[in-house]
C-alpha cells in the first residue's frame, strides 16, 4: 500500500530551477517537498562530477537541509491520478504525494537528429557523454568528436579536455555569422564573460561553424565520423561521438496535468503559473534558457506558490534579461534545414522499435505511421524519436498517458492510500 505524504508546496525536479523554487517556497511554517529521479540533486547541468558535488548544489542542499527540506532522490513522477495527488515510483515501490501547490521543474533533454550511424555504440549526446564521464567513464587518451549545436558543445569539449580526452573535432551547425552575433550579445551578460573567455581560450580554436556530422561508422562501435564543413567533407577517426542539437522541454507531466503548451513549451503567466490554477512551472519546460533563467524562474515560482507574490514580482526584471538570453540562444542555434537531409531510407529513426525512415515516409503521417510501425511505442515513450520526427516530418507530440515512465506492473495495482 503506498504511503501518502502531504505538502503545501511540492517541487518536482532538483536541478537549478527546482532547488531555487524549493528554497524560495519555504516561508518558515509551510511544508515543502522536493523530489528528483536522479541519484543526486543538481539536474543535468550540475550533475555530480566523479563523486564531487557542484558547489552551488552543495550550498543549496545545505541551505534546504537547514530548514528541514531534504531532497528526495530516486523518485520518478509517473502519474497524476487525481487533483492534488502525484504518484511517484522509486526503487522500493510506489508512493502518493499530496500537494496544495505543485511546481514543475522537470528540465529538458537533448534533441537528437538521426543520421547514418547514430545508433552505433559510443555515439552519444553531448550532455550524454558528459554525464557518462561525470559518472565515472574514463576517456583519458580517447579521440572524441563533439558536434551538434549550442553553447554546450564548448562547455563539454572543455570538460572532456580537462578529463584528458582528446577532442579531435568540434562541429557547430550554426552559421559563423550567427555565432559572432551571439558572441556580441554576450556583452550584455557580464556574469558569463569569465566562462565565455575561458571556454574560448580552451577550445575556441577547434570550433568549426557551418559544420555538422553526416555519418558515423565502425564495425561494432564508433570508429570514424564524416563531417560536412565549408571546406568540404572530412573523415575523422575517433572513439566517441558526442552529438546533439540543443534541447527540448520535458513537458510530459505538465501535459498530463492538463497544462496548456505552445510549441511544446509550458505556457506560464508572469508568476510562472500554468493554465492549471495550483500548478507552476519553472526552468527549461517554459523555454530553453540555461541555468540563470532557470534559477530566476524557480525563485519566482517558489515565492508565488507560497503566497508572496509581491516579492516574486521584484524578480521579474532579472528574468526578463535572461529571457532575452534564451531568445538569443533560440535564434542562434536553431537546427538548420539541411539536417533533415542526413537521414537515408535505411537510417533508424525510432531506436526502441528499430523503425527506419523508409517505413515512415509514406503518405500517412503522425498517428497512422506510429500505429503501423510502432514508432514511439517503445520504452522511451517517444522522448527520443518524438522531437526527431517533429523536426523531420512535422508530426505533433502524441497524447500523454500514464505511466509517464515504464513502471513495474505491480505498481498499477497499488493505489489505495493508507491514510487520507
Amino acid at each position: 500500500m503506498p504511503e501518502v505524504e502531504k505538502y503545501d508546496v511540492l517541487v518536482v525536479g532538483a536541478g537549478p530551477a527546482g532547488l531555487s523554487a524549493a528554497f524560495n517556497a519555504f516561508t518558515g511554517s509551510n511544508r515543502v517537498g522536493l523530489i528528483d529521479d536522479n541519484p543526486a540533486a543538481g539536474g543535468q547541468i550540475y550533475r555530480p562530477s566523479q563523486g564531487k558535488t557542484h558547489p552551488w548544489v552543495g550550498m543549496s542542499v545545505a541551505l534546504l537541509d537547514k530548514v528541514g527540506i531534504t531532497v528526495q532522490c530516486g523518485l520518478s513522477a509517473v502519474d497524476a491520478p487525481d487533483p492534488g495527488i502525484l504518484a511517484v515510483q522509486s526503487f522500493n515501490g510506489k508512493r502518493l504525494l499530496r500537494y496544495e501547490k505543485l511546481i514543475l521543474c522537470t528540465g529538458a533533454r537533448e534533441l537528437f537528429l538521426p543520421f547514418p550511424g547514430w545508433t552505433l555504440p559510443n555515439a552519444m549526446g553531448v550532455g550524454g557523454l558528459q554525464a557518462l564521464v561525470k559518472s565515472g567513464l574514463d576517456v583519458a587518451g580517447r579521440r572524441i568528436v563533439v558536434a551538434g549545436s549550442g553553447p554546450l558543445l564548448l562547455a563539454v569539449a572543455d570538460y572532456l579536455k580537462k578529463h584528458d580526452g582528446l577532442v579531435v573535432g568540434l562541429f557547430e551547425q550554426a552559421p559563423m555569422a550567427s555565432l559572432k552575433q551571439f558572441g556580441l550579445s554576450m556583452l550584455g551578460y557580464p556574469s558569463k564573460w569569465m566562462q565565455g573567455l575561458a571556454l574560448g581560450a580552451s577550445v575556441g580554436r577547434m570550433l568549426r561553424a557551418d559544420s555538422w556530422v553526416v555519418e558515423a561508422g565502425g564495425r561494432s562501435r564508433v570508429e570514424w565520423v564524416k563531417a560536412r564543413t565549408p571546406k568540404g567533407e572530412e573523415q575523422i577517426e575517433c572513439e566517441y561521438l558526442a552529438c546533439a542539437y540543443g534541447f527540448v522541454p520535458s513537458n510530459e507531466l505538465a501535459v498530463l496535468l492538463g497544462c496548456a503548451t505552445r510549441n511544446g513549451f509550458v505556457t506560464v503567466d508572469d508568476l510562472q503559473q500554468t493554465s492549471i490554477a495550483n500548478v507552476y512551472c519553472a526552468g527549461e519546460p517554459t523555454g530553453i534558457g540555461g541555468v540563470d533563467l532557470s534559477t530566476t524562474e524557480g525563485r519566482i515560482a517558489g515565492l508565488a506558490a507560497s503566497g508572496r507574490e509581491d516579492q516574486a514580482r521584484s524578480v521579474l526584471g532579472r528574468r526578463e534579461r535572461w529571457r532575452q538570453f534564451a531568445a538569443n540562444l533560440d535564434t542562434t542555434f536553431a537546427p538548420r534545414p539541411e539536417l533533415k537531409d542526413l537521414v537515408t531510407p535505411e537510417t533508424i529513426v525510432c531506436r526502441c522499435e528499430d523503425v527506419t525512415a523508409a517505413r515512415l515516409s509514406s503518405p500517412d503521417c503522425g498517428r497512422a505511421a506510429k500505429l503501423h510501425t510502432r514508432c514511439g511505442m517503445g520504452p522511451c515513450q517517444g522522448r527520443i524519436c518524438g522531437p526527431a520526427t517533429k523536426f523531420l516530418y512535422g508530426w505533433d507530440q502524441g497524447s500523454v498517458r500514464p505511466p509517464l515512465y515504464p513502471v513495474p506492473i505491480a505498481a498499477l495495482a497499488d493505489s489505495e492510500p493508507t491514510n487520507g
Binding site: D37, N38, E110, A131, S135, R221, R351, P379, P406
Partner: protein
C-alpha cells in the same frame, strides 16, 4: 576519497570507484554494448540521463535496468545483452 569496489560484468571482474554508474563501468571494462536492439544491433548509452532506454542491462538478475541511472555496488553482477 571514494572507495574502490568490485563488480562483475559478463565474464569480467573489474574494480571501479564507488559511485561509478553501471553504464560507465560497462564502458570502462572495454565493452561498448549494453544491449541488442530489436533487429540485433549492438547499442550503448545515448542520453546519459535515463530517458532513452538504450543503456539497459541486467543488474543482479533484474533485466531492463537503465545502467546510467544506477551506481555500482560492491559485488554487483551485471550482464549485457541479456
Amino acid at each position: 576519497m571514494p572507495d574502490k569496489i568490485t563488480v562483475k560484468i559478463d565474464d569480467t571482474t573489474i574494480v571501479v570507484l564507488a559511485g561509478t554508474s553501471v553504464a560507465a563501468a560497462i564502458l570502462n571494462s572495454g565493452r561498448a554494448k549494453a544491449r541488442r536492439s530489436v533487429i540485433g544491433e549492438a547499442r550503448g548509452p545515448l542520453c546519459g540521463m535515463g530517458i532513452c532506454y538504450e543503456c539497459r542491462a541486467s543488474v543482479d538478475g533484474v533485466v531492463h535496468v537503465r545502467s546510467c541511472m544506477v551506481p555500482c555496488a560492491d559485488g554487483m553482477v551485471i550482464e549485457t545483452d541479456a
